[in-house]
């Protein structure tokens, strides 16, 4: 990224000055304080930035060969960012960020009302992922990001299709867009069969919670964050409903909140319905709630959720909100100045809502490069292990998928469980130590299986065969160190020599113990989960 490209971020502002005859003139000035965030180049082979960008864009660390390329030729930054952004892994990782908003990934397994369906883990994961699949498919298909709120298609995969009766095109396990065969709400992810089960109907609030979910998710406007105080003691529901219509401090929010809410009752949520019926929109219910309160979008006429999606997509708050969210996903420890939000939102809009373009601007910013170390997200940790060779579809690797899909393990890793813990803990805690110990034990089982295989059949010990030579052992240690810590080290590096000494000492008694120990040392290092 060149300085010239970022010069557009140099913010103009105005101040008043008087000329000699006293007339007022507006003088253009430049705010260097804000510009500092953006006026930067990626020329220094900063491995931390390189690894961080790889994790944030693709969900896994760079490979050893990519580290080598970066160390020898930093000018590849622009090219390699483009290749990463065009990797399908970007769409998947970006969808995971949105679980911080939707909170569906591991929710259904904990929700009592779904216990009676006896869903297996594969079905739970498919249902939990469906809202995020809207994000993933939108990006995979290079659609404008506005389609997230106004797209006409639904995502499905074989497991999900079996539950909801979808017809898929062709074979394969992947998610795909399907053309709905029955009543459907054309409003992007707001037409999800799952989202409104998660954001359930509260019979007492007439979908107001759903409305606030929509405004906070896509417009970054949360009614509950308004500093308005009420005394709710000793008043009945009737009094509250009456106050909503008459009391100014209530009307201020409810005049726009309630008309939004009245289109969000479309999706039913009965406790005794089949799953596919719960996810089925009902024009009957839509009209029922419209009869309660005439729908409206902040004072504008509205009839359906499709209208809602169209309004949101055209609302400048949407572009600003997507900029803010993307920034928060990737730079969680530094807020973005709202003037920067305005400019990025304008560029985002001008690019036809190209999320890749926006992400590239974020990861090449100085603020992104300057941020302090952060904890890996669970999916980034799992993604890194998968890149190391771990196959979570095999018996030896399956348990490791719980890094992402077990609510308890997610929380231990500082992430969310989508029900009780909705904010991530960005600190390295004892929970990480416990979980890294667990990962070590799981990897040991893979090593045990590896040692029974010839070199070409091995998962983790890819650099060594039976009766390993020193050179092979060193190559293996370098490979692990580079893959797990994103450090471009050579065999002569002190850390590698230390590991080799440990390996040599233990290998005389047990090769498994030697490999398991050096791998555990690498896994237990906080660098394993920091970026």
């Amino acid at each position: 990224m060149t300085p010239a490209l970022f010069s557009i971020f140099l913010w103009p502002s105005f101040s008043c000055q008087s000329d000699t005859d006293g007339r007022v003139q507006i003088v253009r000035s430049t705010s260097t304080e804000v510009a500092e965030v953006w006026d930067t180049t990626i020329e220094d082979p900063d491995t931390i930035w390189f690894a961080r960008a790889s994790l944030d864009i693709r969900g896994h660390r760079p490979s050893p060969s990519e580290l080598a390329d970066w160390a020898t030729d930093p000018s590849i930054a622009d090219t390699i960012l483009d290749s990463w952004l065009n990797d399908p892994a970007f769409a998947h990782q970006f969808a995971w960020y949105w679980n911080d908003v939707f909170h569906t990934a591991v929710w259904i397994g904990q929700a009592d009302k779904f216990q009676r369906f006896l869903l297996n883990s594969e079905e739970q994961q498919a249902i939990g992922w469906e809202p995020m699949a809207f994000i993933e498919q939108t990006l995979l298909e290079y659609q404008p990001f506005t389609d997230v709120v106004q797209g006409s298609q639904l995502p499905s995969n074989p497991v999900f299709a079996q539950i909801f009766g979808d017809t898929l095109d062709g074979e394969g396990d992947e998610w795909q867009w399907i053309t709905p065969t029955r009543d459907h709400v054309t409003a992007g992810v707001m037409g999800s069969r799952v989202l409104w089960m998660r954001q359930y109907v509260d019979f007492l609030n007439h979908n107001r919670a759903r409305a606030n979910f929509v405004t906070s998710s896509f417009l970054c406007m949360d009614y509950l964050e308004r500093d308005v105080t009420f005394d709710f003691s000793e008043i009945s529901l009737d009094v509250i409903e009456s106050a909503i219509l008459t009391q100014p401090e209530c009307v201020a929010c409810h005049s726009s909140l309630d008309p939004l809410a009245s289109v969000l009752g479309t999706f039913q949520d009965g406790v005794n319905l089949h799953l596919d019926q719960m996810g089925m929109p009902s024009s009957f219910k839509e009209r029922w709630y419209a009869g309660w309160k005439e729908p409206g979008y902040f004072g504008l006429p509205m009839n359906t959720m499709s209208d809602l999606g169209a309004y949101i997509a055209a609302d400048s708050r949407f572009a600003q909100c997507m900029v803010t969210r993307t920034w928060e996903f990737m730079v969680p420890d530094a807020s973005l100045d709202d003037l920067d939000v305005f400019t990025l939102a304008s560029q985002f809009t001008d690019s036809d809502y190209d999320m890749r373009d926006l992400v590239k601007r974020v990861v090449t910013s100085a603020a992104y490069q300057r941020q302090s170390e952060r904890i890996l997200r669970p999916e980034q940790l799992l993604g890194t292990l998968e890149r190391l060779g771990v196959d979570i579809t095999t018996a030896e690797g399956a348990e490791l998928s719980n890094i992402v899909w077990s609510p308890e393990r997610r929380v231990m890793f500082g992430s969310t469980d989508d029900v009780g813990v909705l904010l991530s803990n960005t600190s390295f805690t004892v929970g990480h130590h416990v979980q890294l110990e667990w990962i070590s034990s799981q990897l040991t089982e893979i090593l045990r299986a590896d040692l029974t295989q010839p070199q070409e059949g091995r998962v983790l010990l890819t650099k060594v065969g039976n009766a390993p030579q020193d050179d092979n052992v060193l190559a293996q240690l370098v490979h692990w160190k580079q893959s797990l810590h994103s450090e471009y080290v050579s065999e002569s590096d002190e850390s590698i020599q230390t590991l080799f000494a440990v390996w040599s000492q233990l290998a005389t008694e047990s090769e498994l113990q030697a490999w398991a120990t050096v791998l555990a040392i690498l896994v237990h290092d906080p660098k394993m989960v920091l970026r």
Partner: protein, 315 residues
């Protein structure tokens, strides 16, 4: 304009502009987001008097021209006096940015906004039950506006009156009549003894005689439930059993595609959903209905359009 010129006088003038202006502060970036967040729920040009919660007619902030016209007034109320929005809750950053926008000339341009023609909400229903000496006699009459397929605009609707009969373990659809907006009869259908909508054992093969009158021509034909289902495109049924308070039982059938009935009380005991009659599955749920369903007063039989509008406003 004079006010603005006075406001932006600087060092050697009487007053200094209390904000730093920026090209980045426009109607698109600040003005419209602020006004939508806090104002247009009441101050919008499409909102009639009854839905403005006291906002003066004409003081509309949902377009750039309106927002610019009232920019200084909005600033005065939202920032200077801080009595709008009435409940407060505006963040300090929002006030600061809105001040910059309003006092720096309220710059910007009209923004593209989807055009949505509101549905004729008179299409909502009015339901009343026939009450004799204070007792519910089992007959329910539903009056509502339905779309006229031959109409050229949503405003051209038909008024339909549907009649239902509730018996101990079943419910019958007796028929309906439709009038145009001029009060001219358009069509009518009646069934004898009535189509069974709800029954313990659903007789899908029962034939009933339908008397149909349309455009002055009357004929009879035999129909059964499945026939009506196909005719009406039915795919979902919502059934709500009555609560202990049987007056004002409610029932509706929207656009001929869906059927259902619901009690008039605030609590509905059960409902059912299914694509077809044979695919019904039952649910139990608590449901608190809108306030306007709580009345126990029967509605007058002679519906007056103006009266319906008034009634709609009240709720």
């Amino acid at each position: 304009m004079m006010v603005l010129l006075w406001l932006i006088s600087c060092d050697d003038g009487p007053t200094k502009l209390p904000v730093e202006c920026s090209e980045a502060i426009t109607y698109e970036t600040v003005g419209q987001p602020f006004l939508r967040n806090y104002c247009t729920g009441c101050h919008a040009s499409s909102l009639p008097v009854g839905k403005r919660y006291g906002a003066p007619l004409g003081v509309d902030l949902d377009t750039f021209s309106g927002a610019k016209q009232y920019a200084l007034r909005s600033y005065a109320r939202a920032v200077h006096l801080q009595d709008m929005p009435a409940g407060g809750g505006v963040s300090e950053m929002d006030r600061q940015r809105f001040t910059q926008w309003a006092l720096c000339g309220a710059v910007g341009a009209e923004l593209d906004t989807p055009t949505v023609v509101p549905l004729n909400r008179a299409n909502s229903f009015v339901v009343y039950s026939s009450v004799v000496d204070g007792d519910f006699d089992g007959e329910i009459i539903l009056q509502r506006f339905v779309d006229d397929d031959s109409a050229s605009s949503p405003e051209e609707s038909l008024l339909r009156e549907e009649r239902y009969k509730v018996e101990e373990d079943s419910m019958l659809f007796l028929g309906y009549q439709e009038w145009d907006m001029e009060g001219e009869a358009v069509s009518s259908v009646s069934w004898d003894p009535g189509l069974i909508l709800i029954a313990a054992n659903f007789p899908t093969d029962q034939l009933v005689e339908a008397t149909i009158e349309m455009d002055g021509v009357e004929w009879t034909e035999e129909q059964n439930w499945m026939g009506i289902q196909e005719l009406q495109g039915l795919w979902e049924i919502d059934i709500h059993e009555r609560d202990l308070e049987p007056l004002n039982t409610h029932l509706w059938n929207l656009e001929g595609e869906e059927w259902g009935w619901r009690t008039s009380s605030t609590v509905v005991l059960s409902s059912a959903y299914g694509k077809t009659v044979s695919d019904l599955s039952w649910e139990s749920q608590q449901f608190v209905g809108p306030n306007f369903l709580n009345t126990t007063e029967p509605f007058p039989l002679n519906v007056n359009l103006e009266w319906i509008d008034l009634w709609m406003e009240e709720r």
